[in-house]
Amino acid sequence: MSMTSEGGHGAVPTGPEVPVEPKAATARRDWPLYEVFVRGKRGINHVHVGSLHAPDDEMAVHAARDLYTRRNEGVSIWVVRSADITASSPDEKDPMFAPSGDKVYRHPTFYEIPENVPHM
């Protein structure tokens, strides 16, 4: 067994017995991903702060308040399903864009799942 100290909490094993290959999500059992935008105080724009999983919009905005604003009532929060965001497209002459996709991230929720797959 070999080890690495990568990651903030220190040493963990690596090596052949610990597979690293990510497998593409094929069936989504968990809640969809939402992106969270917070306006920390009046006079500034909403800023993207991260994401979370929630079953629906209402639960998402409450979880966002818990998690990203520590329940500060004074701030304004937007949540949006990650899948509903369209990003600028890769052919805008920026060579840094990966040549695929028009979504903000490589989020797994972008895998298309047919409606009739159970436990989605």
Binding site: E6, G10, R106
Partner: protein, 318 residues
């Protein structure tokens, strides 16, 4: 109505790689939609996921004392801390998801033993002094590891780390403050503190990973800017920080070879027993099975809750 898709020239992989390398060496951040080498992405997913798993599994050793915390103030502090760890896990899973990982899938991998978490959490918390020592040692070591990661070349990870580091410093301080209070208490309490220090000191040194000459992946990770200092450098920094803190506290670190070296300005310490460490991380630690079983139960026993919320959302989608 969408426009017809026109054929575009194939991307020039060499140019993309060059651009990536230039960005990293200029200390700029790589962002989620940027082109990145596949190895970089995989290594990051693994690194961030095991960091996230460590936060979540790390809730358990201290969580075991939540119901029995010996004062209401300590209970509130510990509850806030354990809750912070859930939040940190969430920030990190969120960063991993920008790379195409999926939280449920990462959790499955953790439960099935295909991804790991920091071995330090496979030791049991035997007395309340362990809560203090975890704050002082484990969170202290985590801070040494994590502060440099605030400069990680991967933007979402670096941003998550900045947020986490801010909160983590309070975690360390609450631990140290608990120990300060305990050593001023009864003889029994002082003995508890020393016993906890004896049990956690060496495992905390092991948190920094194997010695540099036995750390095969480090060079690539350094080049990619996702590891900023070598294991031995960080361990030394941690020891140098901890020794004076132990003196103030009036406890003895369990290492007879620990001495100050005037010439280098560093503390020299004894050899680490890596065989025990390997035993613990390979699954023979005192608490491995317990930690994973609880995580599995939280996932499986409550699956019906997640399904119910999904079903409700489908019924009420406008």
């Amino acid at each position: 109505m969408s426009a017809p898709t026109l054929e575009r020239p194939a991307p020039d992989e060499a140019a993309l790689q060059e651009q990536f390398d230039a960005t990293v060496s200029a200390e700029h951040r790589i962002e989620p939609r940027d082109w990145m080498p596949e190895g970089y992405r995989k290594t990051l997913v693994r690194q961030i996921a095991q960091h996230a798993h460590s936060e979540i599994i790390g809730m358990q050793p201290e969580g075991d004392w939540l119901l029995a915390a010996p004062s209401l103030r300590r209970k509130a502090i510990l509850l806030a801390k354990v809750q912070d760890e859930a939040g940190h896990g969430l920030y990190l899973y969120s960063a991993a998801e920008t790379l195409g990982a999926d939280r449920a899938d990462l959790t499955d991998k953790l439960i099935e033993g295909r991804q790991k978490y920091s071995s330090i959490f496979n030791y049991p918390t035997l007395t309340y002094a362990d809560v203090g020592v975890i704050g002082w040692f484990v969170d202290g070591a985590a801070i040494c590891n994590q502060v440099p990661l605030c400069r990680s070349s991967y933007g979402p990870y670096a941003r998550a780390m900045i947020r986490i580091c801010k909160e983590e410093s309070f975690h360390q301080r609450q631990g140290y403050e608990l120990l300060m209070t305990m050593v001023r208490g009864t003889d029994e309490q002082r003995a508890m503190v020393q016993d906890a220090v004896d049990r956690w000191w060496w495992p905390s040194l092991m948190m920094f990973g194997p010695p540099d000459d036995d750390s095969p992946n480090s060079a690539q990770s350094m080049a990619w800017g996702i590891k900023r200092h070598s294991n031995d450098e960080l361990r030394q920094r941690y020891v140098d920080m901890s020794v004076p803190q132990a003196e103030v506290l009036g406890v003895t670190l369990p290492d007879p070879e620990l001495t100050y070296d005037e010439a280098s300005g560093h503390y020299r310490f004894g050899a680490i027993d890596w065989s025990e460490f390997k035993r613990v991380i390979s699954g023979d630690g005192p608490m491995n099975a317990v930690r994973i079983a609880r995580r599995r139960a939280a996932r499986d026993d409550n699956a019906w809750v997640r399904e119910a919320a999904t079903a409700y959302a489908r019924k009420h989608a406008s």
